[in-house]
Structure formats: structure tokens, C-alpha cells
Symmetry: C2
Subunit: 374 residues, 2 copies
């Protein structure tokens, strides 16, 4: 058996924790997270839209399936959110043209009423809920805590005091500088190519810059990592490993979390079928192109609101689109690597392909180096 | 002496032509092109804004300096251009609000009149001039012909019949398919990270897709290649080499082609200080952010025109901005790698750094592969 050994050894991650390859996998599905870890990677559960008591139960569910193997949880902690979870107060701030625009989309595409609030409106991000989420994570035995947006030093300190590895996702150098100042153990340099919330600097341009800035702190490359060649390229750029999301969307373990419309969008999409839009959350978010992103990009459409006000505006209709699988509005967060994935596979197969191809790419490169007479 | 050996050997490029490393360097300065080739790379002269007789003289100038070493020339051949070089006819098509917008910028920033037409208006791209440029290149002894935009099969055939290596720059898979159909010898997969005319797919996401599509045709990675780690990463992704532009902007050989304002913009810019704007040519073009790109992005600004009509609109004012070095409108085409470059260096130093660091990165990766007990 071979293994990719990287600077993650400094953290004790690859040695102590038995990683076969420095591949971190992000998912909103607990089944996917457990499968990544059990396949020798490092599963990370995207829990930011879950209530504190749900997070507690879900982390315990994963632990029961992975035993001593490592896994993580990801939270999003933006700087400015309301103090309390008070939807009624925020509703009053929504401009009338924005309401009319949403009602227009509901009418045009005959969107049925949702049975309840959507993923973005079941609770509204607030200091109160964020604090309770952080407490639930700190009290759990999760091994790693990743911060997808925002990196408050006190959260990093709390988690480190509990013996957890702390990670910040960054899309530009100034965010990395802040995260390093906060004392994180690991950075994820996530480029423009990524799915979900993302920035403007291409993954290829971003990764080595963050590596140089990070000094002794290891960096994972994120945004477009889809094949083992990407894993090898990330290591060539000085990354200690990779952070992967899109590759685990079309997996058997994720199937129950996707609607038919979402699966179809993911299967047919190439890189050029994804767009960055602020229509999802008020922040730039890469997703498969659909009537949803197109309506918001059309002439005369309103500008998306700030976060989390935009969540209040769109949470219910996004929930209805998902619940009733409304075409052609159905879409999914996805990165520019989506073109590589066109069928459901077990997570273990995705992991095996990434690892084997990375090793082959490194061996091929070694052969490219030859000594020749001067 | 060591050398990076890649699939370019199949073309006979690295063996027959004595490349030390598979690094192709693009420049609008003949001095830079000659220096890249003389440093063991493959210089390519961006000649699309030059008249046929100028191209003939400039290719001969380079040949006199590089001897038998290889170099290339790059032309841009868009599909739809006017038949003749008739500026007066195009002027009539420019909408009044666009003229007023340009006059507003001239007044606001006190732009002096130019002494003559600018780079984009000294001639207007037309079939007549393109045909004469192609004839001049075909008649020259240049080794390689790159097509930056457009890939007409008859041009590829003409150049191959003259024994020249043919290359197409592509930013998405469907462009690559057309270029392969046209019979090119080499593809350049140029991602969103690149300076100048560029597309939406990140370099990291684009390169391995084009490699897979290209089969036996070698692919160069372009868009953000700034360090030897990028060269190693490109090889890891399956590329046979790299195509570099931004790294050669701040070089001593290019200094006489830059205004002080352009140098300052390049020196201070980081990746996030570049923007993609259609304000330069009517097509998406990455450049350093300036009052020029900001004015065109402001609310109420007109949409850029199509190409080449937009050239007619902006050619003279862009020429005046350059001639009189007008701040804060001064800017330069540049890719997201610009943050790596902050001082003038000789081309040979840039080449030496790229090569040495690429070799070191590959050696480092080889050590990451270890056999461990199963």
C-alpha cells in the first residue's frame, strides 16, 4: 500500500489519524461525511444551517460510524448578523420591489406554497444561534472545526482549548492574514472555481500565494479539485492537501439529499453551466445555471439584498423550489469541476480514484525530470 | 544540467529545438520574445496590432537575435470582421450616448488630444488586413504560429504546409474541439486567471479537461503561471508545458514599452486589483483596475459595443491615455499572477526562477510518495 505523505504530518494528521491521502471532503450529508472518513479521507460536515441540538445529534451519528477516525464540522460565522432570531423584524426591512419580484417568479413558474420555511428560513442566522452552535460543537468530540466565512479569534481559541484542529477557509490574502492572526492550525485556500460561496481569485492563482503567506501553517487547496491530477497539482503548488466538495455531490450516500431536478442539473452541467450569483444568500455563490439565477441576472431585476436579509427574502421560495422540485428553477450549488461527474457512485470509489490518480500523476512527473549533458 | 522533459518531445520541440524547459512566453515586445528564446524558452510575439510590413520586419529582427533557436508569432483572427479597413463607415454605427460617454471621460480626467490614432485605431481589424498579416507570417521563417482568438482551418493548413507548428488558445471545451478539428499541433488551455482576453473557466478547472479532450495533441497551461510551482502543477495536471504572459511584463526588456503609470499599476497590483472588463476591446479583457474600468462599470455607463466597433470608439482615447500617461486612467492588461511581480528584472532571471523552482517542486513531490506497509 502506498500513501501520500505531506506536511500534514506536522499536524500529526496523516500519521496519527491514519489518512491514506490528504483529502478533506465537505458535505451537508452526514452519510457522505462518514463515508469519506471511512475511506481514509477527512470528512467535514457542513452544519451551519442546523440547530444546535441537531448538530449535537448529527456529530454523534457520524462518530458512531467512524469510530476513532477523524472528522470535522464546518460553521459559517459572518461578522454582522442580528442579535436575535427575529424574522418578523427583518421582514419589515425588505423593500417592496424585492417582494414583488419574488411574487412575480412564484407566479411565472407556478411555484406551489412550501409546507414550511426553507433551509434558509427555518432559522435566521443570529448571534444567539451562532453562539449555541459554537457551544454544541465545542462540547462534542469532533476532531476539527472549519470556519467557512469569518474567523473570530475567540472561537478559534475555544476550539483549540478543547483539543480540536481549527481551520479557516479563505479566498484572498487579507482573509488569510486575519485567520493566521486568529491562530488557526490549517488554512483552506478556496478559489473562484469552487462551488457555493466563493471569491474572485482563481484556485490556480490563489493557492501558492496563500502557501507563502501561511509559513509553517499547512494549506489545503480548494475550488475545482476533481481528479487525482488536481491533487498532485495542489501538492506541486505547495499545498499540504486538498478540500473537495463538488466531487461528493453525485454520490450514492448523498442521493437522498437531492431532488430529481438537482441530480439532473448536476449530471448535465459543465464548468460553463455554473454561475456565480448573489441570488442564493446575498453573498457570491456558485451554482448550476437555472431560471433562478437567470431571473436575477435579467435587466430590471433588483440587486440582491445583504446577508442575512436576503435569506429572509428567498428562504421560503428556495424551500418550495426544492420541496416541489420546480423546473426550470431547480438548481444546486456546484463548482467548475462538475463536468467531471455525471453519474452516482459510492463515496469510496470517488476517494479511490482521487488517490490512485494522484499517485500516478506524481510518478509521471518524476519521470519528466531527467539529467542531460550540459 | 537538468531539463524538464515532457510530451513536447513528441513534437520534437524540446529535443530538436533545445528547449531547457517547456515554457512559452508571450509578449508584445520583440526584445522580450528574443530574450525568452535565448534563455531556453519559446518566445511568442503578439503581432495582431501590427501591419503586415511591420510583422515582416519584426520577425526578421527577432530571427537575427535568436539564430536557429525557435520562436513564434501570435495573431488574433475573429470570425466576424469588416471586409475592408474602413474606419469612416464604422464611425457612423457608433451610438450617440457612447460618444457622449467617451467625451465625458475626456473632460473629467482632462485627457489631452493624442498625436495620432491609438494602437486599436491605427488600423481597424478587417479581412483585408488579416489576410495580409497571415501572408506575411506564412512567408516568414517563424517556427510557430499561435491563434489567440479564432482558428480558421485554412490558416492552420497554410501554416502547416510551410512547416510551422500551429497552436490555438482556447478557454472552453467547445473552442478546443473546433481547434482540434482544424488540425492544430498544440493547444493552449487559457483560464479565467489570465491577463488580456480571457474566459470564465478557472485555469485549475480548465487545463485537465482540455488535456483529456486533446488526446495525443499536447496542451500548454495558461492563466496565472507565475512561479515554478505553477509549472510543476501544470505538468501534474497533464499539460506538456506552460504559456506565460504576465511574468514578462515587468522585465528590463519590456521597459521601453511601458509608461510610468503602467509600471506603477503593475508593481502595486495584487490578483484582486485586476478586473475583467469589456471596456478595452468589446471582448472580456483582464486588466489592472483603474478609473477606466471603474467608469465603464459605474451605474448608467453604456454597455461596451461589439468587436471591432468598440475599438473604433475607444482606440483614440486609449492611445491618448498611454501617450500622455493620464492618471488615474492608466492601466495595463495583467493576469491574476501579477501579485508575484513587483520590480523590473531581466527576462533571463524570470526564466531561471521558473525553471529552477519547477524542478525543485517536482523533486519535493517525488519525496511525498512513500511506500508504507499495508
Amino acid at each position: 500500500m502506498s500513501r501520500l505523505r505531506t506536511r500534514l504530518g506536522n499536524l500529526g494528521v496523516s500519521d496519527r489519524l491514519g489518512l491514506r491521502a490528504p483529502i478533506f471532503g465537505f458535505s451537508h450529508a452526514v452519510e457522505v461525511v462518514a463515508a469519506i472518513t471511512n475511506a481514509g479521507g477527512y470528512g467535514v460536515y457542513g452544519a451551519t444551517r442546523r440547530l444546535p441540538e441537531e448538530i449535537e445529534a448529527e456529530l454523534a451519528w457520524i462518530r458512531a460510524r467512524v469510530g476513532d477516525r477523524p472528522f470535522g464540522v464546518d460553521l459559517v460565522i459572518p461578522a454582522k448578523v442580528p442579535e436575535k432570531n427575529d424574522r418578523a423584524a427583518l421582514e419589515k426591512e425588505i423593500p417592496e420591489p424585492h417582494r414583488a419580484f419574488i411574487e412575480g417568479i412564484e407566479a411565472k413558474y407556478a411555484v406551489p406554497k412550501p409546507s414550511g420555511p426553507g433551509m434558509r428560513t427555518r432559522f435566521i442566522r443570529s448571534e444567539e444561534i451562532q453562539d449555541a452552535q459554537i457551544a454544541a460543537v465545542a462540547a462534542s468530540d469532533v476532531d476539527l472545526v472549519a470556519l467557512g466565512i469569518g474567523c473570530p479569534p475567540e472561537v478559534v481559541a475555544t476550539m483549540k482549548a478543547r483539543g480540536k484542529t481549527t481551520v479557516a477557509l479563505v479566498g484572498q490574502e487579507r482573509h488569510a492574514a486575519k485567520a493566521l492572526e486568529a491562530g488557526v492550525d490549517l488554512l483552506v485556500a478556496q478559489g473562484y472555481d469552487a462551488g457555493g460561496h466563493t471569491g474572485v481569485v482563481g484556485t490556480f492563482s490563489l493557492v501558492p500565494r496563500i502557501v507563502d503567506l501561511a509559513g509553517d501553517v499547512p494549506v489545503l487547496a480548494a475550488g475545482g479539485v476533481s481528479t487525482g491530477r488536481h491533487v498532485a497539482a495542489a501538492l506541486a503548488m505547495g499545498a499540504a492537501g486538498v478540500w473537495v466538495g463538488t466531487a461528493f455531490l453525485l454520490t450514492e450516500e448523498n442521493a437522498s439529499h437531492l431532488t430529481r431536478g438537482e441530480v439532473e442539473a448536476l449530471v448535465r452541467s459543465q464548468a460553463t453551466d455554473t454561475v456565480i450569483s448573489r441570488a442564493e444568500s446575498g453573498k457570491p455563490f456558485r451554482q448550476t445555471r437555472s431560471a433562478w439565477s437567470e431571473e436575477w441576472a435579467a435587466p430590471g431585476a433588483p440587486q440582491p439584498l445583504g446577508h442575512p436579509l436576503h435569506d429572509v427574502l428567498v428562504g421560503d421560495i428556495l424551500g418550495a423550489i426544492e420541496e416541489h422540485d420546480v423546473r426550470p428553477l431547480a438548481h444546486s450549488g456546484a463548482g467548475q469541476g462538475i463536468g467531471w461527474f455525471d453519474r452516482m457512485r459510492p463515496v469510496a470509489d470517488v476517494m479511490a480514484d482521487l488517490t490512485a490518480e494522484a499517485e500516478a500523476a506524481i510518478d509521471r512527473m518524476s519521470r519528466a525530470r531527467e539529467e542531460v549533458p550540459a
